[in-house]
Symmetry: C2
């Protein structure tokens, strides 16, 4: 059996997250259906981790076992021909049989994107959180600095968090708390408390899913 | 009466174009409804020109007459609060009573965006035409050069056309013809024939609406 590693991008807007659930449209089920259409095989697409409803991925990774003899180039092209246009296979690679996209993931990089401007951007409305209040990115950056990276270019702010594991909704809790810091509702020191306590009860409101991207997984 | 000039951006994906039509969701009707919700007035939002179903605008311009006493800053904020998130007022300005956004438009800049890469981009799928065949942008650029501008950066190609008037679907016909030139189906000289004849029957297939943006209107 071959063990294929896929690198996937998807627009999470119309998916109920990665993991298969009866009666919901999920990325896992969609990818497995494309593999089935191509190979006739019922496989398990084993991702680095689930992503929640509405969360996007630039570089999700999943592996599956197959007896297909297609080259990896053909696999990319043929799977994309079977996939709907909100999920795309960027790369396919043959891996040793023991490779497990979930268990072997060493680090994941998440990015949270905020638009902070007086006028929303209609083209990026599904791919960011539109702040309703002006944000002080310098204060947010100072609060973030020991733990994670925050950048601002023009009206765009993004928070990059890379770690070996993530508690449920942790990145969105961090983003929501930093937004509170940026509008003057919380002090910068609370970020450290939340991260050190790993206690979401102390965090600000969870920022919306549509601003969150799984950027890459490192093995 | 005040005469207000609005600069508008909209994602055309879910609109049946600019112009009001019974039983269709249009940008004009949506903007007029927001003005009504704010001012209580039934106005005519008079655009520089209609845009077709699915066509986007970065800088559409429209004017309307009102007795509202709101400052232009308040108009922008309040209209955006009443508008759905796929249409946005970027600017509002008081104009002389004679200003007519349609009649006084001197030039319009349209941009047609093509993605030419082996793997589609799921985040920009509504905002470009995904070419199914590799395109030779140098040949396209040579064909375009005397008439209009064509640029390529990485997998992205865009065609800018600025003119004082546009025949129906002209920009999409030009884009469709240039795509045919880029994949070797047509000779470069046919672009000149189409533009000079202003005859769409000689043009290639009309490129899809989702790649077209009305960028700006000059008065």
């Amino acid at each position: 059996m071959r063990n294929i590693k896929l690198t996937l991008s998807y627009d999470g807007s119309d998916f109920s997250g990665w993991q298969t659930q009866p009666r919901f449209r999920t990325v896992q089920e969609t990818v497995e259906a494309a593999i089935h259409a191509l190979t006739g095989e019922r496989v398990n697409a084993n991702a680095s981790g689930r992503t929640d409803t509405g969360v996007h991925a630039v570089g999700q990774v999943a592996n599956f076992y197959t007896q297909s003899q297609h080259s990896t180039e053909v696999l990319v092209r043929a799977l994309n021909a079977h996939l709907p246009d909100d999920v795309v296979v960027r790369q396919a690679a043959d891996m040793p049989e023991a490779f497990d996209a979930n268990r072997d993931a060493r680090r994941k990089l998440y990015r949270y994107v905020i638009h902070d401007g007086p006028v929303p951007d209609p083209f990026l409305r599904h791919y960011c959180h539109q702040s309703r209040h002006p944000l002080d990115a310098a204060v947010m950056s100072a609060a973030a600095k020991p733990h994670l990276s925050l950048n601002r270019v023009g009206e765009w702010i993004w928070i990059d968090v890379e770690a070996d594991g993530f508690l449920y909704n942790m990145v969105r809790a961090i983003a929501g708390t930093l937004i509170d810091v940026g509008r003057g509702y919380r002090s910068a020191s609370q970020i450290a408390e939340i991260l050190e306590a790993e206690d979401r009860r102390q965090a600000g409101p969870t920022a919306p899913a549509q601003g969150l991207f799984l950027m890459r997984v490192t093995y």
